[in-house]
Symmetry: C2
Amino acid sequence: MIEKLILSLQKYGPVSDEERRVLEQGASQVRDYAPHEDIVREGECPAESCLVLEGYAGRYKLLAQGTRQIMALHIPGDFCDLHSFVLKRMDHGIAAISPCKIARFPHALIKEITEHHPRLGRALWWVVATDGAVMREWMISMGRRSAREQIAHLLCELFFRLQTVKLVQDDSYELPVTQAELGDAFGLSTVHVNRVLQDELRPAGLITLTRNRLTVNDWEGLAALGEFDPTYLHQAPREAA
Amino acid sequence: MIEKLILSLQKYGPVSDEERRVLEQGASQVRDYAPHEDIVREGECPAESCLVLEGYAGRYKLLAQGTRQIMALHIPGDFCDLHSFVLKRMDHGIAAISPCKIARFPHALIKEITEHHPRLGRALWWVVATDGAVMREWMISMGRRSAREQIAHLLCELFFRLQTVKLVQDDSYELPVTQAELGDAFGLSTVHVNRVLQDELRPAGLITLTRNRLTVNDWEGLAALGEFDPTYLHQAPREAA
DNA sequence: CGGCGCATTGAGGGCGGTCAATTGGTGTGG
DNA sequence: CCACACCAATTGACCGCCCTCAATGCGCCG
């Protein structure tokens, strides 16, 4: 059940059988969520952290004027809110984007890991740190890249991350994210996301995007456009994956 | 020497005398840096993490077209790159913004903390997680706030963080950050930063800003403009352990 | 006094926003 | 099997925030 998580953690270092057992037994409650359903609500003080088993989820915050900012996209193998272990009160919500399956790890278990399984504890620390690296890259996109560049960059990032958990086949992957959601992730309007996809990325032959599957037709071109350098994901290079 | 760090960590929970001693002895090398000088360079694999003792530092990345994005501002008591402990290769640089004094903690020490001082280890985890919370808030600013709102928000954030380490006096604090740097932090041009300060924040009586000191004249107004809610800074101790 | 870094201001333009209408795919009830 | 509802994608018209280029203070220091 947690094989995607293991695949992900192995990018940091080997996971022993015992460590795997600890994690397996810790994934207590498992639940399915429908798109738009809240997995964790802003303001809550959850006693568990959530792991995505299947589907897409995302961190978000609603602003006063009714706008929304999505601050992360989570794929299978990702912890959404490992930080809730130390931060207690959620400063943002987490919602299902596609139908998804979520497992919860009691904070008590994580605390025990930090006390009795230091190496695994450092692996979890790595999860939090990598999450930060992804956020920094999103900040770069939002601050200094044009709409077409940031969209190209995100598509590359997802390609890479999904590859780690073996969810890329034949240069294509599931992308059950609406254009409105993409817009909220990058501070763009739905209209403009559409125009970029429509008038720039597709005509350039870089991608094919159907209802919910994306195919990368020209990886070099897409990576060049998004100025994508996977170093920040702290994983093995694409070829070796 | 590390009293600012202790003040900061106490926002998570109490720090015992022994924990304090561990940190004090760990702060091995201390060095001064001049503005614009690199403290850690992108691509390096440092064997220590940096703590700001005095002055301002910042994370940044240079893009191909010559633009720059600043992804964090660090004040006294902040670890700049605690994440380098688990991420190894720096995916960004860290530079001095004002003249500043930096202490370095060997990763070996941090590893030892994770193994023999679990509570202190969790406090460091809290540092990384809080850092992430600040980044999420910056993402909200960059994605969904207007220039005047994001600048107002940043000024509020700094006020709060500096208050924790006792660097706010009479509603004012040192702000040795140029308008160009503020622009790079938010993806704005220098010109526009100036216009917002000049035509909006100052005339509204919200702030006074001299060469390098900022005074908040109307906290309510500034916080309202930036839609500032300090919850995300997680400054209320909440752990019983 | 001259150089330099930073703040400030003006003019003009473009990227991306808003508002609004239309198309198209999918699911559901009749 | 069709009508209808609904949601997402798409397109058009217009606009404004913020950008770029460029020039002008202005304070500090050698």
